[in-house]
Protein backbone atom coordinates (compact mmCIF):
# COMPACT_ATOMS: atom_id res chain seq x y z
CA UNK A 1 0.00 0.00 0.00
CA UNK A 2 2.01 3.01 -1.20
CA UNK A 3 -0.26 5.78 0.09
CA UNK A 4 -2.09 6.24 3.37
CA UNK A 5 -5.24 8.14 4.15
CA UNK A 6 -7.25 8.95 7.24
CA UNK A 7 -8.86 5.54 7.42
CA UNK A 8 -5.40 4.00 8.08
CA UNK A 9 -4.76 6.25 11.07
CA UNK A 10 -5.20 5.22 14.70
CA UNK A 11 -4.27 6.52 18.13
CA UNK A 12 -3.34 4.35 21.09
CA UNK A 13 -3.23 5.74 24.63
CA UNK A 14 -0.93 4.54 27.42
CA UNK A 15 0.06 1.28 25.75
CA UNK A 16 -3.49 0.07 25.24
CA UNK A 17 -3.90 -2.71 22.66
CA UNK A 18 -7.23 -1.16 21.62
CA UNK A 19 -7.20 1.95 19.50
CA UNK A 20 -8.79 5.07 21.00
CA UNK A 21 -12.33 5.57 19.85
CA UNK A 22 -13.51 8.34 17.52
CA UNK A 23 -10.16 9.97 16.80
CA UNK A 24 -10.65 12.69 14.18
CA UNK A 25 -6.97 13.45 13.56
CA UNK A 26 -3.50 13.35 15.00
CA UNK A 27 -0.33 15.20 14.09
CA UNK A 28 3.20 15.70 15.33
CA UNK A 29 6.04 18.10 14.58
CA UNK A 30 9.68 17.48 15.24
CA UNK A 31 11.68 20.70 15.45
CA UNK A 32 15.45 20.93 15.38
CA UNK A 33 17.08 23.99 16.90
CA UNK A 34 20.33 25.41 15.62
CA UNK A 35 23.20 27.22 17.32
CA UNK A 36 24.89 29.97 15.33
CA UNK A 37 28.62 29.62 14.81
CA UNK A 38 29.14 32.59 12.49
CA UNK A 39 32.44 34.35 13.20
CA UNK A 40 33.93 37.70 12.26
CA UNK A 41 35.16 37.59 8.69
CA UNK A 42 32.41 35.22 7.55
CA UNK A 43 30.10 36.30 4.76
CA UNK A 44 27.58 33.51 5.28
CA UNK A 45 25.85 32.35 8.40
CA UNK A 46 27.03 29.04 9.79
CA UNK A 47 25.42 26.88 12.43
CA UNK A 48 25.46 23.53 14.19
CA UNK A 49 22.61 21.41 15.49
CA UNK A 50 21.16 22.31 18.88
CA UNK A 51 18.25 20.89 20.85
CA UNK A 52 15.43 18.88 19.28
CA UNK A 53 11.81 19.13 20.37
CA UNK A 54 8.73 17.11 19.52
CA UNK A 55 5.15 18.24 19.87
CA UNK A 56 1.80 17.19 18.53
CA UNK A 57 -1.94 17.34 18.72
CA UNK A 58 -4.99 15.17 18.32
CA UNK A 59 -8.72 15.66 18.15
CA UNK A 60 -11.16 13.15 19.60
CA UNK A 61 -14.93 13.18 19.75
CA UNK A 62 -16.30 13.10 23.28
CA UNK A 63 -17.72 9.64 22.73
CA UNK A 64 -19.00 7.23 25.35
CA UNK A 65 -19.15 3.53 24.56
CA UNK A 66 -19.35 0.22 26.38
CA UNK A 67 -17.36 -2.96 26.04
CA UNK A 68 -18.99 -5.74 27.99
CA UNK A 69 -20.03 -4.25 31.30
CA UNK A 70 -17.49 -1.39 31.23
CA UNK A 71 -18.03 2.14 29.96
CA UNK A 72 -15.24 3.96 28.15
CA UNK A 73 -14.61 7.48 26.93
CA UNK A 74 -11.11 7.91 25.52
CA UNK A 75 -11.56 11.65 25.21
CA UNK A 76 -12.42 11.83 28.90
CA UNK A 77 -9.34 9.72 29.65
CA UNK A 78 -7.16 12.45 28.17
CA UNK A 79 -9.10 15.22 29.88
CA UNK A 80 -8.52 13.51 33.20
CA UNK A 81 -4.75 13.69 32.67
CA UNK A 82 -4.71 17.47 33.08
CA UNK A 83 -8.04 18.40 34.65
CA UNK A 84 -7.87 17.48 38.31
CA UNK A 85 -11.00 17.99 40.36
CA UNK A 86 -10.89 19.70 43.75
CA UNK A 87 -11.57 17.45 46.74
CA UNK A 88 -13.82 20.06 48.35
CA UNK A 89 -16.83 22.15 47.46
CA UNK A 90 -15.52 25.58 48.43
CA UNK A 91 -13.68 27.91 46.09
CA UNK A 92 -9.98 28.58 46.62
CA UNK A 93 -8.68 25.01 46.69
CA UNK A 94 -5.27 25.49 45.17
CA UNK A 95 -3.68 22.19 46.19
CA UNK A 96 -4.80 19.30 44.05
CA UNK A 97 -3.34 16.35 42.23
CA UNK A 98 -0.60 16.98 39.73
CA UNK A 99 -1.22 16.35 36.04
CA UNK A 100 -0.31 12.96 34.63
CA UNK A 101 1.93 12.10 31.72
CA UNK A 102 0.58 10.00 28.86
CA UNK A 103 2.09 7.83 26.15
CA UNK A 104 0.68 8.24 22.67
CA UNK A 105 1.18 5.82 19.80
CA UNK A 106 0.43 7.67 16.59
CA UNK A 107 -0.23 4.72 14.29
CA UNK A 108 -0.58 4.07 10.57
CA UNK A 109 -2.02 0.76 9.36
CA UNK A 110 0.26 -0.08 6.44
CA UNK A 111 -1.15 -3.55 5.96
CA UNK A 112 1.55 -5.30 8.00
CA UNK A 113 1.02 -6.88 11.41
CA UNK A 114 3.03 -4.18 13.17
CA UNK A 115 2.06 -1.10 11.21
CA UNK A 116 4.06 2.12 11.33
CA UNK A 117 4.01 4.23 14.47
CA UNK A 118 5.77 6.70 16.69
CA UNK A 119 5.56 6.27 20.47
CA UNK A 120 5.65 9.65 22.22
CA UNK A 121 6.06 10.01 26.01
CA UNK A 122 3.91 13.12 26.20
CA UNK A 123 2.97 15.89 28.56
CA UNK A 124 -0.40 17.33 27.61
CA UNK A 125 -0.07 21.11 27.34
CA UNK A 126 -3.65 22.05 26.53
CA UNK A 127 -7.12 20.62 26.11
CA UNK A 128 -9.98 22.61 24.67
CA UNK A 129 -13.61 21.75 24.07
CA UNK A 130 -16.57 23.68 22.76
CA UNK A 131 -20.12 22.77 21.85
CA UNK A 132 -22.29 24.48 19.31
CA UNK A 133 -25.34 23.82 17.22
CA UNK A 134 -24.69 21.54 14.28
CA UNK A 135 -21.38 20.19 15.53
CA UNK A 136 -20.33 17.09 17.41
CA UNK A 137 -18.61 17.71 20.73
CA UNK A 138 -14.88 17.09 20.46
CA UNK A 139 -11.68 17.89 22.35
CA UNK A 140 -8.50 19.33 20.83
CA UNK A 141 -5.48 18.06 22.73
CA UNK A 142 -1.96 19.49 22.38
CA UNK A 143 1.11 17.85 23.84
CA UNK A 144 4.88 18.00 24.03
CA UNK A 145 7.20 15.02 24.10
CA UNK A 146 9.19 14.49 27.28
CA UNK A 147 12.41 13.41 25.65
CA UNK A 148 12.94 11.37 22.50
CA UNK A 149 10.35 9.02 20.95
CA UNK A 150 10.41 5.65 22.69
CA UNK A 151 12.34 2.67 21.41
CA UNK A 152 10.23 0.55 19.14
CA UNK A 153 9.21 3.57 17.09
CA UNK A 154 9.45 2.46 13.47
CA UNK A 155 7.95 5.34 11.53
CA UNK A 156 11.45 6.44 10.47
CA UNK A 157 12.24 3.07 8.93
CA UNK A 158 11.88 2.79 5.19
CA UNK A 159 10.82 -0.86 5.21
Amino acid sequence: MPFYAGQQGKLFIDGSSTAAAKVVNWSFTSAQGTLETTTLGDTDRTAVYGIRSLSGSCRLYYYKYTSGATSYNDCATLLEKVIKISGGTAAGDGENDASDPVTFRLYIDDGTSSGKYIDIPALITSVSMSISVGEVLAADVSFESNGAPLSGTNITQAS
Partner: protein
Protein backbone atom coordinates in the same frame (compact mmCIF):
# COMPACT_ATOMS: atom_id res chain seq x y z
CA UNK B 1 57.72 39.39 29.76
CA UNK B 2 56.98 37.41 26.60
CA UNK B 3 54.31 37.27 23.92
CA UNK B 4 51.85 34.39 24.06
CA UNK B 5 49.78 33.83 20.95
CA UNK B 6 46.03 33.61 21.40
CA UNK B 7 44.47 30.31 20.17
CA UNK B 8 43.56 30.21 16.51
CA UNK B 9 39.86 30.95 17.09
CA UNK B 10 37.81 33.64 15.36
CA UNK B 11 35.38 35.47 17.64
CA UNK B 12 31.69 35.81 16.90
CA UNK B 13 31.69 39.37 18.24
CA UNK B 14 34.24 41.96 19.26
CA UNK B 15 34.23 45.30 21.06
CA UNK B 16 37.21 47.66 21.24
CA UNK B 17 37.90 50.99 22.91
CA UNK B 18 41.29 52.68 22.36
CA UNK B 19 41.73 53.91 25.92
CA UNK B 20 42.32 57.38 27.31
CA UNK B 21 45.23 59.75 27.83
CA UNK B 22 46.39 60.04 31.44
CA UNK B 23 45.38 63.43 32.72
CA UNK B 24 43.72 65.20 35.59
CA UNK B 25 41.17 67.99 35.24
CA UNK B 26 40.81 70.87 37.66
CA UNK B 27 37.73 73.05 37.35
CA UNK B 28 37.61 76.43 39.01
CA UNK B 29 34.50 77.89 40.45
CA UNK B 30 34.18 80.22 37.48
CA UNK B 31 34.07 77.15 35.18
CA UNK B 32 37.58 77.47 33.80
CA UNK B 33 39.33 74.12 33.38
CA UNK B 34 42.97 73.31 33.85
CA UNK B 35 44.13 69.98 32.44
CA UNK B 36 47.39 68.41 33.47
CA UNK B 37 48.43 65.79 30.92
CA UNK B 38 50.89 63.23 32.29
CA UNK B 39 51.81 61.48 29.06
CA UNK B 40 51.30 61.46 25.33
CA UNK B 41 50.29 57.81 25.02
CA UNK B 42 46.85 56.40 25.50
CA UNK B 43 46.43 53.75 28.15
CA UNK B 44 43.93 51.12 29.27
CA UNK B 45 42.51 50.22 25.88
CA UNK B 46 39.84 47.55 26.15
CA UNK B 47 39.06 44.57 23.95
CA UNK B 48 36.18 42.19 24.49
CA UNK B 49 35.87 39.02 22.47
CA UNK B 50 32.99 36.58 22.45
CA UNK B 51 33.15 33.05 21.05
CA UNK B 52 29.66 31.64 20.65
CA UNK B 53 28.92 27.91 20.49
CA UNK B 54 32.48 26.67 20.17
CA UNK B 55 33.67 23.16 20.94
CA UNK B 56 34.60 22.49 24.55
CA UNK B 57 38.16 21.70 23.44
CA UNK B 58 38.42 25.21 21.94
CA UNK B 59 37.01 26.71 25.15
CA UNK B 60 39.67 24.80 27.08
CA UNK B 61 42.38 26.21 24.80
CA UNK B 62 41.30 29.74 25.77
CA UNK B 63 41.48 28.84 29.45
CA UNK B 64 44.90 27.31 28.88
CA UNK B 65 46.01 30.53 27.19
CA UNK B 66 44.74 32.52 30.19
CA UNK B 67 46.83 30.36 32.49
CA UNK B 68 49.90 30.57 30.25
CA UNK B 69 49.76 34.37 30.05
CA UNK B 70 49.34 34.79 33.78
CA UNK B 71 51.85 32.15 34.84
CA UNK B 72 54.37 34.94 34.32
CA UNK B 73 53.91 38.61 33.49
CA UNK B 74 53.36 37.85 29.80
CA UNK B 75 51.01 39.38 27.28
CA UNK B 76 48.63 38.15 24.53
CA UNK B 77 49.14 38.71 20.83
CA UNK B 78 46.45 38.48 18.17
CA UNK B 79 46.50 37.83 14.44
CA UNK B 80 44.03 38.11 11.60
CA UNK B 81 43.08 34.50 12.24
CA UNK B 82 41.88 35.09 15.78
CA UNK B 83 41.19 38.31 17.69
CA UNK B 84 41.61 40.63 14.70
CA UNK B 85 39.65 38.46 12.26
CA UNK B 86 37.43 40.26 9.80
CA UNK B 87 39.04 43.68 10.27
CA UNK B 88 40.96 45.46 7.54
CA UNK B 89 44.64 46.20 8.06
CA UNK B 90 44.20 49.74 9.37
CA UNK B 91 41.75 48.72 12.11
CA UNK B 92 43.63 45.49 12.81
CA UNK B 93 46.70 47.50 13.85
CA UNK B 94 44.62 49.02 16.65
CA UNK B 95 42.96 45.72 17.57
CA UNK B 96 46.36 44.12 17.84
CA UNK B 97 47.95 47.25 19.38
CA UNK B 98 50.77 46.76 16.93
CA UNK B 99 50.84 50.30 15.54
CA UNK B 100 53.40 51.70 17.96
CA UNK B 101 51.10 52.40 20.90
CA UNK B 102 53.35 50.38 23.17
CA UNK B 103 50.33 48.77 24.75
CA UNK B 104 50.37 45.08 25.55
CA UNK B 105 47.17 43.05 25.85
CA UNK B 106 46.58 41.27 29.12
CA UNK B 107 43.53 39.51 30.47
CA UNK B 108 41.28 41.94 32.33
CA UNK B 109 39.86 39.16 34.49
CA UNK B 110 39.25 35.46 33.87
CA UNK B 111 37.34 34.27 30.79
CA UNK B 112 33.70 33.34 31.36
CA UNK B 113 32.59 29.97 29.99
CA UNK B 114 28.89 29.20 29.57
CA UNK B 115 27.94 25.65 28.66
CA UNK B 116 25.14 25.82 26.10
CA UNK B 117 24.86 22.27 24.72
CA UNK B 118 26.70 18.98 25.28
CA UNK B 119 30.18 19.62 23.90
CA UNK B 120 29.55 23.28 23.10
CA UNK B 121 30.36 26.40 25.11
CA UNK B 122 30.20 30.17 24.74
CA UNK B 123 33.28 32.00 26.03
CA UNK B 124 33.67 35.71 26.77
CA UNK B 125 37.10 37.29 27.25
CA UNK B 126 38.11 40.80 28.27
CA UNK B 127 41.54 42.27 27.68
CA UNK B 128 43.14 45.51 28.80
CA UNK B 129 46.01 47.26 27.03
CA UNK B 130 48.76 47.88 29.55
CA UNK B 131 51.59 50.37 29.06
CA UNK B 132 54.48 48.80 30.91
CA UNK B 133 57.08 51.03 32.47
CA UNK B 134 60.37 50.61 30.66
Amino acid sequence: MAAVAFPNLKPSSRSYTPGTYPQTEFQAQNGAKTIVRYGNRRVDSKLQLSFANIADADAASILSNYEAVNADWDYVTFTDNDGAAGADASLASYLRESGGSGLKWRYDGPPQVDSVYPGLSTVSCSFIGVLDAS
